[in-house]
């Protein structure tokens, strides 16, 4: 007979869950150069990332975090905080959930969405740093585009639906009700569906 199998998670993820790195100690975020928070407790995931920056060279010297969430949420913020140290702000801004998942040795499909918040919180922290230091011109807004006018569904909603498991246009509709009124957005929605499937799952 087989012994108990491994967790659904990779060894690397398990390692970071068991001994998370760079947890922010204390409760005061004011002593950091930039602070970003994403998600909320009701949804089951919330992540906060704080950074210190070498202002001469615009490089992240320290990154700490707090996370409310499951094992993959905890591990993905932990590994993210390791990844960004020494990166320029510009490099760090472009880290994607896929990069985080790859570094963790992969994530189960239904857990990808748990790693999305970390990089979002990081970008919020970077923007917060720009604002605090009078560099508002460098702040990059997350571009949101409404795809389905009737139901007011954005490209972010489509991305979220893909991360939550939608793989076909029908499943996308089940989750978001996109294109259920006039249907004119179908082509654009389908191409975004394919794009996000490719970005996040490589399919």
């Amino acid at each position: 007979m087989l012994q108990a199998g491994e967790w659904v998670y990779s060894e690397k993820l398990k390692e970071h869950f068991m001994s998370p790195k760079n947890i922010m100690q204390g409760e005061n975020t004011d002593e950091f150069d930039g602070v970003g928070m994403e998600g909320n407790l009701q949804c089951g995931d919330q992540m906060m990332v704080v950074i210190n920056v070498d202002k001469e060279i615009q490089v992240i010297t320290d990154c700490q975090w707090k996370t409310y969430g499951c094992a993959s949420a905890i591990a993905s913020t932990s590994i993210l905080s390791e990844m960004v140290k020494g990166m320029t702000l510009d490099q760090a801004f472009h880290i994607s959930p896929k990069d985080v998942a790859k570094e963790l040795g992969g994530l189960p499909d239904n857990k990808i969405h748990c790693s999305v918040l970390g990089d979002k919180a990081l970008r919020a922290a970077i923007n917060n740093y720009y604002v605090r230091n009078g560099m508002e011109d460098k702040v990059k807004q997350e571009q949101v585009k409404t795809i389905c006018q009737c139901m007011s569904i954005t490209d972010h909603d489509i991305e979220d639906a893909v991360l939550e498991g939608a793989r076909t246009y029908f499943e996308l509709q089940e989750r978001t009700k996109i294109g259920t009124v006039c249907g004119q957005c179908k082509d654009e929605a389908e191409s975004l569906l394919e794009k996000f499937k490719h970005i996040h799952f490589g399919v």
Binding site: E27, T29, Q42, G44, K66, T67, G69, S72
Partner: protein
Amino acid sequence: MKVYFDHNATTPLHPEVKKEMAEAMDMFGNPSSMHAWGREARANVEDARRRIAAFVGAQDDEIVFVGSGSEANNTVLSLFVCASNMCIPGTKMRSTIITTKIEHPCVLETSECLAHRGARVKFLDVDRYGKVDLDQLADMLGDDVGLVSVMMANNEIGTIQDIETIAKMAHESGAMMHTDAVQAVGKLPVDVQRLGVDFLTISGHKIYGPKGVGALYVKKGTPYCPLIRGGHQERGRRAGTENTLGILGLGKAVDMRAIEMEAEKQLLGDMKAVLKKGIEEQIDDICFNGHPTESLSNTLNVSFPGAEGEAILLYLDLEGIAVSTGSACASGSLDPSHVLLATGVDAERAHGSIRISLGRGSTMQEVEYMLDVLPRTIQRIRNMSTAYIKGGAHAASR
């Protein structure tokens, strides 16, 4: 230390059940055969049936062996959408099913499926303790209702329903009554006569019997139609060669329950009280879910705001302790426990809930170990949680 506190999920085989099943391994005859091999299997299956019937106050021929509790529930619910009106006369007129928001998914999902197939399904609300709203039931009942299905004890929070009263109300309005008693049988005295139900679901593996076997009580004279067809087994009520080994195991499990249940109930109740007190004393900002008194003596459901359930479960797993959680993350869905949400608990508390379910092997030493590990686990998770930072959701509570 290895501590199994997840008995509502499943239980280990009782040593006596194991012995009985091991001895029966060579009994391979088909109970439908007329020769000696078949007659041996038949005799043993019928003997198990007799003991199980006696355990719940039923007659022998009112017990149908099935493959699981889920199958039993599916069978009962599926009776009420037949378009032909032949097997269950009158169901066409009474195509409404009343059930609750806190049923097991095998009832909820089947109900939703039946709704697509023409039945009307109404879901009863529960109060903050998980008790069914009887006034609402009275309002819902009418001459369109064919079946009321309410679970006797809830698997997640342990709340026990007043099935006797609900059955009476159902019958007074001309509806039939089913109760999913999978978590109740073997933990509480269950008597179908006293409860006054028409259908009752039993599962083997929740009572130290084997997996893959269950039993459905069908009151004599109640209209019935099989879910699985194509054989005369179980008097035409459930086709497929009998799971003889499983049935024998279930029979033995019931025997052992009859002997051990009463004393065990007291013992587990004491352990639960110690757990509850210890958690209350050692951990801040918690809430217990379920009914404070009308609840299974083995089940304790508790929420830790600011900590997420899957993380709690896995940190406990690393310390050798098994529990379950109402968090969405552990279920693969995005929504936390439907049971907790139905009791009005907010989503965060549902995400941060764990269920501790004790069983016959549980000891006070295990409870003490749990009370050593759990507080520091919660402390550890809350220390890395966003909930307690300056400006966080629970910043003020510390």
